[in-house]
């Protein structure tokens, strides 16, 4: 497994597009901070030049972050997938391939997320109106987001390894992490036993997390981790099982 991971790491480091994506993300964060800063400087009535508003943009972008995660996952599961046949014919198991690609792309994605969070805190704390507890609240809301975003990343990985097209993946992810709660609320309303289920849909939970953050009442919630773990576990178990039997051409 170590040799396979080392070779994939060699490949990952030479993916210029991937590094560029990271740089673009950081530039967008910096630009957003810059726009808020300069607007607040020029307009005394501008209410959004605060660090809380700046951070809330990230807390509200769960689905977008998952789609950015797709770009990182594609780095090793997109066109490069064609080379899997060489590894398999050398006796490297499908299990090793599945998990190695996940570990490497996830590590890189997490690294970018951590750098992004640090950059946001740095910019928010220094350029924008500092608010009491803003950083603590931002970190708490981010911790709540982690399991949901990661479950999205795992779902994306599974779908990519099972040769599902990118457009179709975006549609699936958008439904699960964008509209599922509303959909369940609408469909299950007549059933009293199930009408509360929508509260545990990923999109509802991401919205709740955002509302708590903007209302200055964020709390660390175990329900985020339970939902995240369920989606992650189901995705990865099904993915690993199906990939182990898949024909590689």
């Amino acid at each position: 497994m170590i040799n396979y991971m080392k070779s994939e790491y060699y490949r990952l480091l030479r993916k210029k597009g991937l590094h560029l994506t990271g740089i673009i993300c950081f530039l967008l964060i910096a630009s957003a901070a810059g726009v808020l800063y300069f607007t607040a400087q020029s307009d005394p009535n501008f209410r959004y030049g605060t660090s809380t508003f700046f951070y809330s943009n990230v807390i509200a972008s769960g689905l977008l972050i998952i789609i950015i995660g797709l770009l990182y996952n594609i780095a090793l599961t997109g066109k490069d997938r064609y080379l899997i046949k060489q590894a398999i014919s050398f006796g490297i198991s499908r299990r090793i391939i599945f998990w190695s690609k996940l570990i490497l792309t996830l590590s890189y994605f997490l690294f970018i997320c951590i750098v992004g969070i640090c950059l946001m805190i740095l910019l928010g704390d220094n350029l924008l109106t500092h608010e009491h507890h803003a950083i603590r609240h931002f970190l708490m809301a981010s911790v709540n987001m982690i399991p949901i975003v990661l479950s999205g990343f795992f779902l994306v990985h599974t779908l990519k390894m099972l040769k599902v097209g990118e457009i179709f993946i975006i549609i699936i992810v958008s439904i699960i992490f964008g509209f599922l709660g509303d959909l369940l609320h609408l469909l299950l309303r007549p059933f009293t036993a199930l009408d509360e289920l929508y509260k545990y849909a990923p999109d509802t939970m991401l919205n709740d997390n955002l509302m708590s953050f903007v209302n200055d009442t964020p709390e660390l919630g175990f329900q985020y981790w339970i939902v995240g773990l369920v989606i992650s576990g189901v995705s990865l178990l099904i993915g690993a099982k199906l990939f182990a039997k898949q024909n590689i051409d």
């Binding site: 040799n3 060699y10 490949r11 064609y82 046949k85 014919s89 050398f90 006796g91 490297i92 024909n247």
Partner: protein, 305 residues
């Protein structure tokens, strides 16, 4: 343990279609075995199953006597090139080989340059794979096969896209690897004349079934000779032949041509018979079937069945 590859009742089904019917195959150490069949005969599917790219529907595979989970370790002594070789298009030859060198745990970096030298790509190592010609891609595929110094090569259409010179070089290389390094080779190609020059054993596959399996010696023996005649009167010739030899087997072809499949050893006698009875023999020759003709004969024969 002499058998490098062994399959027992191997089958592959896609929905309702059976691509490989219960197939028993064995490749012995030191052989150069040619797997011959038309498109869709099941050659590539068989190779893919051996490589682990596809799962068999039933049956068992043994590589170097190992089966089950141990097969993954045994595969490290083998190298497969099935259909087109896969590489990163934006990487150079060296970068691509470096990726596989790391993956296969090969410590010696010099090995990459050695294999590029062997396949004649030493001067093209900085070119991106995307810019390679078909022949160069095939050569790099062979270089990758040699990278881990395997004991057995499984090559599906390795000379596809190569020019005449390239084909000759690869033939020499494979023969050298077999004779000097004792590397066992299982190969398929549509260029049967090449296989004829290279292989020591010939396995014919049709509709997922091995229809013939014979050594070079046996093939030469079975590639029956036949007499080819061009005469001025084929009707009279047929009459004379049937009268003289009751069980003679022949075919009348257009342009007054006749082929005789038996009595080849009595060719002189047949010639005299025709001449003495006033038949003008314009051409008289003895032909040996080549691999291509043998294959076509086998396929046609089987189709009639």
């Amino acid at each position: 343990m002499d058998a490098i590859i062994q399959t027992f009742q191997l089958t592959k089904k896609y929905k309702d279609e059976t691509i490989i019917k219960p197939l028993d195959f064995s490749l012995k150490k030191g052989e150069i075995c040619a797997l011959i069949g038309k498109n869709g005969a099941g050659k590539s599917t068989f190779f893919k199953i051996l490589a682990g790219q596809q799962m068999p529907s039933s049956g068992e595979i043994q590589l170097f006597g190992k089966s089950g989970k141990e097969i993954e370790t045994a595969k490290r002594r083998m190298a497969f090139m099935v259909e087109t070789p896969a590489f990163f298009p934006d990487f150079t030859a060296v970068q691509n080989l470096e990726y596989f060198r790391i993956q296969r745990g090969i410590v010696d970096k010099k090995r990459m340059y050695e294999v590029l030298e062997i396949v004649g790509l030493a001067h093209e190592k900085k070119k991106r794979f995307n810019d390679y010609s078909m022949g160069m891609k095939q050569r790099l595929g062979i270089a990758l096969c040699l990278l881990s110094s395997p004991d057995c090569l499984v090559l599906d259409e390795p000379i596809n896209g190569l020019d005449v010179e390239g084909i000759m070089e690869i033939r020499k290389l494979l023969r050298k690897l077999n004779q000097e390094n004792q590397i066992t080779i299982l190969i398929s190609s549509h260029i049967l004349t090449e296989l004829d020059l290279l292989a020591t054993r010939f396995v014919f596959i049709k509709n997922g079934v091995i229809v013939d399996d014979l050594s070079r010696e046996l093939l030469e023996e079975k590639s029956r000779k036949q007499i080819l005649l061009t005469v001025d009167d084929s009707a009279k010739t047929v009459q004379l032949l049937e009268r003289a030899y009751a069980d003679i087997q022949f075919k009348v072809l257009p342009n007054q041509e006749i082929t005789i499949q038996n009595y080849v050893e009595r060719s002189g006698e047949i010639n005299r018979l025709l001449v003495e009875n006033g038949v003008m023999v314009k051409e008289f020759s003895i032909k040996v079937m080549n691999l291509e003709e043998y294959f076509l004969g086998l396929v046609e024969e089987d189709t009639h069945d």
